[in-house]
């Protein structure tokens, strides 16, 4: 049984301007000791999905339907139905959360030592001194310089990456079964990022911790995740083991994402490739396939009319596209080669070719 299983989650915001279905029928599952990467365009609903798990979606957001099952001895519990006092024990206890924006979850008027110790005291029956010792240990673990001195500092005295590491320390302090990490390393340089990711993998190996990793860094996904789910406009559009996804992306959106990265060591002239058009806001998601207005492969009227199901394309590999598996060259008005990359698939390595030839 998976540690966490989300079935058909719908979370919407009821704003004066109408209903905003930010998460619209998402299903996911994470096994014990595994890492699931969740990637997708800004605003597609990744954070709202994560916040829904712990029922932290702020008003006017409501979980409208679906279930979120957390395994426990002898069965599972639906977090959407759990009474608030019990849920509070799960937050920071069995599930640790690293939020996307450190400043929203760190309290500016308390020292960071107090904040981490508080998180420990909430879930563990230990004396205050032990909680503080634990806080110090955690700060060392996330490689903060001068940890003793930092314990007594306030969030504004830390650099962006230090704040992010404090949050990671807080989320891991109680050794949770599941860590939800929403862009946990965006403020870190690559060397410290590598150390933090190694710390998370180590937890996973030692304690069978599961990780839901939300990130836009495809390199991080490739190096850390067992499986990847790609989200677009409130829905999962592709799902596969990480290596498989990078070797054989099936959904045109995923193909576009992989192409938008500049490669290092190659001097580019001209603009980077982007996916044409803008991200739709939830209040006006297009009908049919939600990606079709931006898709170089869209065939009308089919793609604008019918919602494609998430279906098996290859072994262990699902995509939500009518034509996945038979895309061929791009067609339609947006199909000029300017919008979509050509992939060279030499051996194990997949890299987009840029206009001027690159590597």
């Amino acid at each position: 049984m998976p540690l966490l299983e989300i079935n058909n989650l719908v979370t919407a915001f009821h704003t004066p301007a109408g209903r905003v279905p930010a998460v619209d029928g998402v299903s996911l599952s994470i096994e014990r000791g595994k890492t699931l990467g969740l990637v997708g365009e800004s605003g597609c609903g990744k954070s709202v999905t994560a916040m829904s798990i712990l029922r932290l979606v702020a008003s006017p957001g409501v979980i409208e339907s679906g279930e979120i099952l957390l395994a426990r001895e002898g069965g599972s519990v639906d977090l959407t139905q759990l009474p608030e006092p019990e849920l509070r024990k799960v937050r920071g206890g069995r599930i640790g959360m690293i939020f996307q924006e450190p400043m929203t979850s760190l309290n500016p008027v308390f020292t960071i030592g107090d904040q981490i110790a508080e998180a420990v005291l909430l879930h563990r029956a230990v004396p205050r001194a032990a909680a503080r010792a634990r806080a110090l240990e955690m700060l060392k673990l996330v490689r903060l310089a001068d940890p003793e001195q930092r314990l007594d500092e306030y969030p504004h005295q830390l650099s962006g990456g230090m704040r992010q590491r404090v949050m990671i320390a807080m989320a891991l302090a109680c050794e949770p079964d599941l860590v939800i990490a929403d862009e946990p390393t965006t403020a870190l340089d690559v060397t410290i990022q590598a150390q933090i990711l190694e710390l998370l993998s180590d937890l996973r190996r030692r304690l069978q911790t599961s990780l839901l990793l939300i990130t836009h860094d495809l390199g991080v996904v490739a190096e850390t995740c067992d499986e990847v789910a790609v989200m677009y406009a409130g829905r999962i559009v592709e799902r596969a083991p990480a290596a498989e996804l990078f070797a054989n992306p099936q959904h045109p959106y995923t193909i576009g994402l992989l192409a938008a990265r500049p490669a290092t060591g190659v001097r580019h002239e001209g603009p980077l490739r982007t996916i044409p058009g803008m991200v739709p806001l939830p209040q006006n998601f297009p009908a049919g396939c939600r990606f079709h207005p931006r898709c170089a492969y869209a065939r009308l009227p089919h793609c604008a009319g019918d919602v494609p199901p998430l279906r098996d394309i290859r072994p262990q590999h699902q995509a939500r596209c009518h034509y996945a598996g038979e895309l061929g060259p791009a067609t339609g008005e947006k199909g000029d080669a300017a919008h979509f990359p050509h992939f060279s698939n030499a051996g194990n390595e997949l890299r987009p070719l840029f206009p001027e030839g690159g590597s």
């Binding site: 915001f13 997708g40 365009e41 800004s42 605003g43 702020a58 924006e101 400043m103 929203t104 060392k140 903060l144 310089a145 001068d146 001195q149 007594d152 005295q157 830390l158 650099s159 962006g160 230090m162 891991l172 050794e175 862009e183 965006t186 403020a187 340089d189 690559v190 060397t191 410290i192 990022q193 990711l197 190694e198 710390l199 180590d202 937890l203 030692r206 836009h216 495809l218 390199g219 991080v220 996904v221 490739a222 190096e223 990078f246 576009g256 994402l257 938008a260 990265r261 500049p262 290092t264 060591g265 603009p271 980077l272 982007t274 996916i275 803008m278 991200v279 390595e349 997949l350 890299r351």
Partner: protein, 363 residues
Amino acid sequence: MTTQPLLVVENLQTHFPVRRGLLRRVSGSVQAVDGVSFSIAKRRTLGLVGESGCGKTTVGRSILRLVEPTGGDVRFAGASVRGMNARDLRALRRRMQIVFQDPYGSLNPRMTVRGILEEGLVIHRMGDARDRLARMRRALDRTGLTAATLERYPHEFSGGQRQRIAIARALVLEPEFLVLDEPISALDVSIQAQVVNLLVELREELGLTYLFISHDLSVVEYVSDDVAVMYLGRLVERADAAALYRAPLHPYTLALFSAVPTIDPARRRRRIVLTGDVPSPSRPPRGCRFHPRCPLAESVCREVDPPATTLDGHLVHCHVAARELERSAGDVRAAAASIAEAMAAASAKPASDAAAASGTLKA
């Protein structure tokens, strides 16, 4: 091409007091920025990279005097920023804008996007109401947001959308110089590409000049003309972007470049893992600040602060690099190659440093 630099940073120093105990007495100082010099010509972009906490944001904030430098100077279009009075400083802050690292923390949650964008225009008395609206629409449009955004509050947006609002706020004042502090780290790759293209386009069209701070080394390479690498409050290397990426000379730069996550498994194997303690900015090591973690450190590195060696505009502070440059008779690429080889050999043994450290995680 030699143009008059728009921005000159000279031996900039910004220290923060460390207070301890009940009386909050000053017991030392965090040497966040400790003698940094560089200049940026008009229409050019300097990329600034380095370890988390090494002082990049503090450099950016010191330039705008959002924090007070404790030494050195900053000159913008010839005028000393440190010597400016409040009035001149206000005028300067229209010409120089900053996009902050934490978009949420920097957007007032009680203001609508309209309020946030209009604030600067009102402070600087730019345009009448109609003109202001037009400017705001233009800035939103440029950052890929619709005018419908205007009446909404920051919390109604995702992280990436908020970052674009922050960029729009800086652009609406039509500044000449922008400090971009991690402007794309909250964005997914496809929006990143859009924002990067946007920044490049604005630079060409409006003749903007950027200080571009980022952890994303490939984006830095793409955007920047020159790149400076910082370590623990100091610059350790600076060169033309292409030259730096082709032939990095400082061991820290090499380690940094090698740690970039990649979907290419072959590149992953050539990673240099830094061991040793994370350095303290309140008690920086003597000699070269990087020596406790440097696989190539020698006795001179532990004693003597390495002076700058400059060759063909490529600047580096490193004893080993200086010697290699001398040995290769000024062939930067040859020197870089031999340093890279030495680094690879020195870190060939897999360092399970992180694993060892996390072994203490026992509640």
